[in-house]
Amino acid sequence: MADAMEQLYQQVILDHAREKHGYGLLDGAAGESFQVNPTCGDEVRLRVHLADGTAAPVIERVSWEGVGCSISQASISVLSDLVCGANVARADELTETFRAMMNHRGVPLTPEQEDLLDDAGAFVGVARYPARIKCALLGWMALRDALVHALTTDPETAGSSSS
């Protein structure tokens, strides 16, 4: 298979698509989001779980379930690793950097961005395929939305409903 496919489907992406870190919804979430990609029907339900006893909110973990292509599934898996232990500012920074990478049509990352994005940097090749950008962003949109819910919902009652 040609190089272009190997650049798009880097091994780290194929591995995450198979392993799906964070897969399986957990109870006790502070916020939840359900996102659909209407063009292909891919969907994800993602929950944000906040750590106890921190002054400012810190993401303890995310849990999720969904169906989708390898790009979308791998992206959510990588996201689950990256935001573990992140505070809200860092989660926002990751989301914005990932979005910016998707909007730059395959422009190489700066060393700082590479450091920040870690495994998520493997998605740089996705930006060359405009039809796949939504796949890569699906989980990040869910994270942003779930965080909004987490930070605006009464933690006593959050996470018990299914959106």
């Binding site: 029907g41 891919d42 390898s70 395929y129």
Partner: protein
């Protein structure tokens, strides 16, 4: 390019057909020849269609059905000439063709006209279009969303109930479920050929069941019009819709066929200029069909393009094209059956089906299948193809779809099959072919 009627085009004839389509000469993704297998989504356009639209703008452009100048006359002639040509192409009378912007608009036109009738518009003449609580509208589980959602909405507006014919495991309409058509049924709307499974519907028994209870039949002919000889009068349907862009014509133009006496009795959907007789500040009387249903400035250049498209198809001969595509369907189905880990959604028997084949690859999402095919220059559709209920019925969330057209060759099918056989191994899965 012309072919001998009803005979499969020879290799030389097919090469000449392909030469009529400028886009087919381009390359994609690192200079690969394009293998266009997405004709069910939209067809490519022959040069004569592109030229016809351009020529209209260059030499004859004017507003139709108004103005006393020569250009207005010529534009009106072109517009009405296109209507006559399209009507002849589908076996109906010229006045029975209403221009729409696509098939979706055609179905909505009928559904909204029925809403309006249900509110009393159109008076006693429109009584047969009224629906309300206790009435039923019958569709099928195989419909494109365009022939499902407008009917759901009509039911929601009027209190009527939506029912549907089922689909067999093989992906064909299940005639065992014809009993959903009862004396309460007012409309039976179904597709002539599925855009997912390629299955051609058994029109006659469904029309017979509908007419036996006095229901109006609406046929979605989007997928059949480009591939099969179509005679809507012989099919005895009451309404039918199709889209220009799927049958070698431009986007932005489609048509609604309506049986003459039904169009005459039906109140309008869109209202405004061009469709009126006498307008006062209080009220308005409407023109006879088809103008009653063509409000506002129409897509004249696109009708001219569609005229060129049906002339082109007519010269090739729909019998010959159907025979060609039947051969392609056999080749596609036989080839896919030989690739491990691939399941076809729809009939694998090539009879009564189009060369439109949706499939799922075990362990690989359709988007990823499409991406690997695209890397080989092969264009297929991925997703739910605007038919979520049908995918659900066939046990798939989405699928990839290869669909052939007049210009598709057996060699292109081979290139597709070769690439398809590499997909699972690329994603590290067992069971690759060959």
């Amino acid at each position: 390019m012309t072919t001998t009627q009803n005979l499969i085009p020879t290799a030389a004839e097919l090469a000449a057909i392909r030469a009529d389509f400028p886009l087919l000469a381009r390359t994609v993704r690192q200079g690969r020849p394009l293998v266009y297998l997405d004709t069910a989504a939209t067809s490519q356009k022959p040069e004569c269609v592109i030229d016809a639209e351009q020529d209209f703008y260059r030499r004859r452009n004017a507003a139709v059905h108004r103005g006393a100048h020569q250009l207005a006359e010529e534009a009106t002639e072109a517009y009405e000439g296109a209507r006559a040509a399209v009507a002849a192409f589908v076996g109906v009378d010229t006045e029975e063709i209403v221009w729409t912007k696509n098939a979706t608009e055609g179905i909505n036109l009928v559904a909204y006209a029925m809403s309006n009738a249900s509110l009393g518009r159109g008076g006693a003449a429109a009584e047969r279009f009224r629906v309300g609580p206790g009435d039923e509208i019958v569709v099928t589980e195989a419909e494109h969303h365009a022939n499902l959602v407008p009917w759901q909405e009509l039911c929601a507006r009027t209190g009527a109930t939506l029912r549907w014919l089922g689909v067999t495991d093989e992906g064909r309409l299940d005639l065992e479920t014809l009993s959903v058509i009862t004396s309460a049924t007012k409309v039976v709307a179904f597709t002539h050929a599925s855009n997912v499974t390629g299955a051609i519907s058994p029109v006659a028994p469904i029309v017979a069941a509908a007419h036996a209870v006095g229901a109006v039949v609406v046929l979605d002919a989007c997928q059949s019009a480009p591939h099969l000889p179509l005679d809507l009068h012989a099919l005895d349907v009451d309404f039918a819709v199709f889209s220009g862009h799927k049958m070698l014509g431009p986007t932005g133009i489609g048509a609604l066929y309506g049986r003459r006496e039904l169009l005459a009795a039906m109140p309008p959907f869109l209202t405004g200029g061009s469709m009126v007789q006498v307008v006062t500040m209080e009220e308005t009387t409407y023109l006879a069909p088809p103008q009653r249903f063509e409000a506002g400035t129409q897509m004249v250049a696109q009708t001219v393009g569609l005229h060129a498209a049906v002339s082109y198809l007519g010269e090739l001969g729909m019998g010959a094209l159907a025979a060609h595509e039947s051969e392609l369907a056999v080749h596609l189905l036989t080839g896919i059956a030989g690739v491990d880990g691939v399941r076809v959604l729809g009939p694998t028997d090539p009879s009564d089906r189009l060369a439109t084949v949706s499939f799922v690859v075990d362990g690989v999402h359709p988007h990823d299948v499409g991406q690997v095919l695209d890397d080989g220059g092969i264009a297929v559709r991925v997703g739910h193809h605007c038919a979520q209920p049908l995918h659900r019925r066939l046990g798939a969330q989405s699928s990839a779809r290869a669909s052939a057209g007049v210009y598709t060759t057996l060699e292109e099918i081979d290139a597709f099959l070769e690439r398809l056989s590499q997909v699972r191994s690329f994603f590290g899965l067992e069971g690759t072919h060959g």
